[in-house]
Point group: C2
Chain length 333, copies 2
């Protein structure tokens, strides 16, 4: 019983409400210029007909899609947080989001191409792996905002976290608790990993803990964290800062399996404050990226560009420490 009846149009709504198309157009766009009474009648008629404006026709006529393209990695928990915040940030701007996912079978180029076809007016790229040169080329075609990755050299707007600062805070916190033997499990070549590594090293230096500096090769996944933790088992530090929450989860897991108590035997600090960290049974001390601010900025930068700005911005948003239950004073000598 299929009643895929012909979709109702502006004209149908106009006829039903007994007004002109222009008036319906105004009302649907929330523009001023229609009486309250008319507005109500139009809205009712639209509702009864299940009317939804045709974005294609709208774009054709106005030459504007009012669409912001978002490229994100569908497996990344942190990207999920960012997309969630992006929807919120875009809500009151008059622009909508068009999502395009990167999957194991679908690379960034493909994801981007799809959005270009949809006539997005600007692109927001989450932690893109695309080389700077390609980014620059893309930016000649439309405004591009890179979010959560501190790329350099391309004429694109960038919004990212002060990653080194994040690790300063992590190390300061641990030192304040009395730790000296603090290791860092890094993120390899992942976006931000180099800065976090540097932040760790600098902070250790600042506390005159140079000789305790110890960097273990990690990665972005639970598995990478697990492997790194096993490497640490022979001679465990009293505390460890980890590249991100996912990786830290792997660390916690291996520690638990080997009978090491957290935080009594080893304190652990993650990074991202992803949903993962907030789970009651994980309850991970971590460095929170300010996703609300970052996404608000990203959307604002994109819209600025769409509306003609030619200024290239680079916004570095400070992170902050969230103390939960995986850090405490060292109990061993």
């Amino acid at each position: 019983m299929r009643s895929t009846g012909p979709r109702s149009t502006l004209a149908d709504v106009a006829a039903r409400a007994g007004v002109s198309k222009s008036l319906v157009s105004l009302v649907m766009r929330n523009e001023p210029g229609a009486s309250a009474e008319t507005r109500r009648r139009v809205l009712d008629a639209a509702d009864e007909l299940g009317y939804h404006p045709d974005r294609g026709a709208r774009l054709l006529r106005s030459g504007r899609s009012r669409l912001l393209g978002v490229v994100f990695g569908i497996q990344h928990a942190f990207h999920a947080d960012l997309v969630t915040a992006l929807y919120t940030a875009a809500r009151e701007t008059g622009y909508e989001l068009a999502l395009s996912a990167v999957t194991p079978d679908r690379d960034e180029t493909e994801a981007t191409a799809g959005l270009l076809q949809d006539r997005c007016e600007a692109l927001i790229l989450l932690g893109p792996q695309t080389p700077t040169a390609s980014l620059a080329r893309l930016a000649t075609r439309l405004p591009v905002v890179v979010l959560a990755r501190g790329v350099r050299g391309a004429a694109v707007d960038v919004v990212h976290t002060a990653d080194a600062d994040g690790l300063h805070q992590a190390v300061d916190h641990l030192v304040q608790l009395g730790h000296r033997s603090i290791a860092h499990i890094d993120g390899g070549h992942a976006p931000g990993a180099a800065q976090r590594r540097r932040g760790y090293r600098d902070a250790m230096c600042r506390h005159a803990l140079d000789r305790h500096t110890r960097i273990i090769r990690g990665g972005l996944t639970e598995e990478d964290g697990a492997a790194a933790a096993r490497a640490l088992l022979a001679d465990p530090p009293t505390a460890v800062t980890v590249f991100n929450d996912r990786c830290a989860t792997g660390v916690l897991d291996v520690l638990a399996h080997h009978g090491l108590k957290v935080p009594d035997d080893v304190s652990v600090v993650g990074y991202d404050d992803s949903r993962l960290a907030r789970l009651a049974h994980v309850n991970l001390t971590t460095i929170a990226q300010d996703t609300a601010t970052m996404t608000r900025l990203a959307v604002a930068r994109a819209i600025d560009r769409v509306e003609g700005s030619t200024i290239t911005h680079r916004d570095v948003v400070p992170p902050h420490l969230v103390v939960r239950s995986t850090t405490g004073p060292p109990t061993s000598p």
Copy 2:
């Protein structure tokens, strides 16, 4: 430098090639009806102008978007797997996917409305919570396929897993290993939870293990699993089947923290075979949903409907057991 050059149109190409717009239209769509000579001239002109047809205008005129809308929950790991597979399934069909995410701030209604504006020709809903009545109403507007949830009563196509069968396999596996004391941590009101509960109960019955039947209230998250595991600690069974992998992860975590060895003290079986389960340090025995088949079916059903089919399908895809390292023979008496 932004090259905001005005996009060239069909008319531009026609003028340059010295032919009519109709001819250019034919050539661009590779339709017969133009001489080889004309074809070449048109193609050359188009190339010189860097012309690309406007998808919006094309769809406006022809009334087709060739777009399949997908509504998914951005924080559901399993939905990420499904979306990944959907992209693959749609690849060779001539249809494209339009994604719309459900977030804590953006409900299914809103997500759906966005896709309606994009003029998607059909909708694929992943594990929708929308009540049956609303689903039915939506289905009068356009073809709707519900994926990964066995809704009943609405005139929509449904593709889901034989959930009860999955738990039969899990219990059979455990019984074969020698377990008798097998508990089930359920999913509460989550989609599929009732069927999995029933599958567990039936299988226990079939093995004459009725008096060992023991159902603990769980949920979909790690946290739910952790809570359920704690409830089990006082009198642990030798094996437990869990609603899904996420929840199972919480179970594993609590068991490890309390010194119970898996699988020596307790065997654990998850559900979904999500990326989580495949991680080397988790390596969870689980019931795999056949995402490739499910998504291929979902896309096929959607396209069938778009192309005029009026048959309502209900596809129930069998799951299969994946044995990894969280199950083994019981060691305690």
